[in-house]
């Protein structure tokens, strides 16, 4: 990548570089002059009180919300000007907060749509469900504990199974940067344990950006933690450092 901006100087190795990012909704700055760097293979957890701008940051990265100013570079490529599907093709995957799967399609078909081939109109018309596709889908289904429900329609899955399916849909997409918005929210205790195990397995060999409230879970997986408050970075570092930061205790953990 030779697209290093002037003044960037150091840090050529970050996978994701967010600089001076601001978005304002009718004057309210949901994200305010935010800078954030994510390394290759780093698992970064974003925490912060409600309304801190966590989900908005993910929305900005994946193109759902357009930035007012600032830049987001992924592997040196500017994302703020790309459409959502181009950002996906660049290698960014996103899981939504509420499970977002296709109720009317089977688990198999849900996974198949996320299979990274035949994404144009004519590609989709001529897409063939060959042995390679089937094998990959079965492999993913095994990982997300849904092997025996492959031909069941999405609407008949439990909440936790829907979350797993969506994680599986991201996995088959094989993104370099995986963004997860509260992946264990609303799960039963057993589902939560299984999900943590699943996440630990899938986050290997890729960078992950997670929003999560469950501190136990955060402690388990995070390499580094970023605390957001009112659209700005309040503190950043290891879980231990962040937990002992008086500013963080003041606005978040203390309550």
């Amino acid at each position: 990548m030779t697209t290093q901006p002037i003044g960037q100087g150091m840090a050529p190795d970050f996978l994701l570089e967010i600089e001076n990012l601001t978005v304002s909704f009718d004057g309210f700055k949901a994200v305010n002059d935010l800078s954030l760097y994510v390394d290759k293979n780093e698992i970064r957890v974003i925490i912060g009180p409600n309304g801190a701008g966590k989900t908005t940051v993910l929305d900005l990265i994946c193109g759902r919300t357009k930035a007012t100013s600032g830049s987001i570079r992924f592997k040196g490529q500017e994302l703020t000007r790309l459409s959502e599907n181009k950002i996906v093709l660049a290698g960014v995957g996103r899981k939504f907060q509420t499970p977002s799967i296709y109720d009317d399609l089977t688990v198999f078909e849900n996974l198949e749509i996320s299979y990274p081939r035949g994404r144009t109109v004519f590609g989709a018309l001529t897409f063939r469900r060959d042995a390679q596709v089937i094998e990959r889908i079965e492999e993913i289904a095994e990982m997300i504990f849904l092997s025996d429900r492959l031909h069941e329609r999405g609407e008949f899955l439990s909440h936790g199974q829907k979350q797993w399916l969506e994680i599986g849909m991201l996995l088959i997409q094989d993104p370099e940067l995986l963004m997860l918005d509260e992946p264990v929210a609303g799960m039963s205790v057993t589902e939560r344990v299984k999900t943590a195990e699943l996440l630990n397995r899938i986050i290997k060999d890729r960078s992950v950006l997670v929003i999560e409230h469950d501190m136990k879970f955060v402690e388990d997986i995070a390499h580094r933690v970023t605390v957001l408050h009112q659209g700005k970075v309040l503190s950043e570092g290891s879980m231990e450092r962040v937990q002992n930061d008086p500013k963080v205790i003041e606005v978040y953990l203390g309550h």
């Binding site: 939504f96 799967i101 990274p116 994404r119 897409f127």
Partner: protein, 379 residues
């Protein structure tokens, strides 16, 4: 995979092949043998609307894009064909009493002295046949791109298609000299010298129409069985998830809208050939909504149901409007409301829920559930 492969032949399930054969037997054998040529021609006319209904199943049923303006494309296809036939009927010989011989009569009445430029391509049959599909498809592409790129959808899209239908009707009526105005393009006689008004021609055209309709149905099944068909259903469910799985949602919506438009246009062209004229009364708001009702009655998720829905509603329309002309529109409105409330999946839903299981029990074939596939995996 085994669940899929067991009963599939290519992209068609066994129940779908049986359904297609049954329909083919009905419209190619039973109907022609049991009706006189006047009634047969009427059924042929109904079947031209079925092209629109099949397009609506793909676009609205699967893709969730409700277009209340399919009359636009039906009309454009019909007008393209009518322009060719009209030019052929307006030979210098036939129009020698006009002040400008060799142009269509309505142009002469409106003091036009030469053929407008956009009529020129319709002197050629190959160009006309291309235009029948291309003009509506390009028009749909322009509307689709403009709307879907801006994420206009749902009710707003439906209203805009209605507005376009209204505008096009007004334009056709207003530009009398170029379009024949409110009367439309009438007095069509021959296709490359072959008189389309004879009983024999009507028979031939009926069968051509029926064959095209079966072809379009097979095409519809192909699209539905492809990954594109599943993406349409996925888009209807969770548009954002599709977008964030790397698909350009606008392109897929535009594609299916153009496909529906092209199918409607083929129906329109066959309408012109069989009925012998084209007029703005098939373009506007009312016919466009009627076409949606055919689809709803047939079951908006069933390609083959769309054909039965079209036949049923039109047969009822003819029967009722012959005896109670004023009541018909009320009846049609009532039917639409009743179907949406009581049978959201229309005839195909009734078939899948009641008749097919009864058949299965009767024949004890044990292949229960396969007939439900008629209602698509996406009901």
């Amino acid at each position: 995979m085994s669940v899929f492969s067991k009963e599939r032949y290519g992209f068609l399930a066994r129940s779908e092949i049986l359904g297609l054969l049954a329909l083919a037997a009905l419209i190619v054998v039973v109907v022609p043998l049991s009706l006189d040529i006047f009634r047969l021609n009427l059924v042929g006319k109904y079947l031209t609307y079925a092209f629109v209904a099949i397009g609506l199943v793909l676009c609205w049923g699967f893709g969730g894009i409700l277009s209340l303006g399919q009359g636009i494309f039906f009309g454009l296809g019909g007008y393209c064909m009518a322009m060719f036939l009209k030019l052929e009927a307006s030979s210098v010989e036939n129009t020698k009493i006009q002040s400008t011989p060799g142009i269509p009569d309505f142009m002469d009445w409106n003091q036009l002295t030469s053929l407008p430029w956009f009529w020129q391509p319709f002197k050629s049959l190959p160009l006309t046949l291309i235009a029948v599909v291309a003009v509506p498809a390009v028009f749909a592409f322009v509307i689709g791109t403009a709307m879907f790129k801006r994420r206009v959808g749902g009710v707003y899209f439906a209203i805009i298609t209605q507005a376009v239908a209204a505008i096009l009707t007004i334009l056709i009526i207003g530009q009398q000299g170029f379009t024949g105005g409110i009367n439309g393009i009438t007095d069509l006689r021959t296709l490359l010298g072959w008189d389309i008004r004879t009983d024999h021609a009507k028979y031939v055209l009926y069968f051509v129409n029926a064959a095209l309709l079966m072809g379009v149905l097979v095409l519809g099944y192909f699209v539905r069985a492809s990954k594109l068909g599943r993406i349409l259903v996925a888009m209807r469910d969770k548009e954002d998830r599709v977008r964030f799985s790397g698909y350009s949602v606008a392109s897929f919506k535009t594609f299916v809208f153009c496909l529906a438009a092209a199918l409607a246009a083929v129906g329109g062209a066959m309408f012109t050939l069989q009925v012998g004229f084209m007029s703005p009364s098939f373009v506007g708001i009312v016919p466009s909504i009627e076409m949606v009702i055919y689809t709803a009655v047939g079951g908006r998720l069933s390609l083959i149901g769309a054909v039965y829905g079209t036949l049923l509603v039109n047969a009822a329309k003819t029967a009722l409007s012959e005896s109670f002309p004023q009541l018909w529109l009320l009846g049609l409105g009532g039917l639409f409301i009743a179907v949406v409330l009581a049978f959201p999946n229309g005839l195909a839903g009734i078939w899948g829920a009641w008749i097919a299981p009864w058949f299965a029990r009767l024949t004890k074939s044990g292949s229960h559930g396969s007939a439900v596939a008629n209602g698509s995996p996406a009901e």
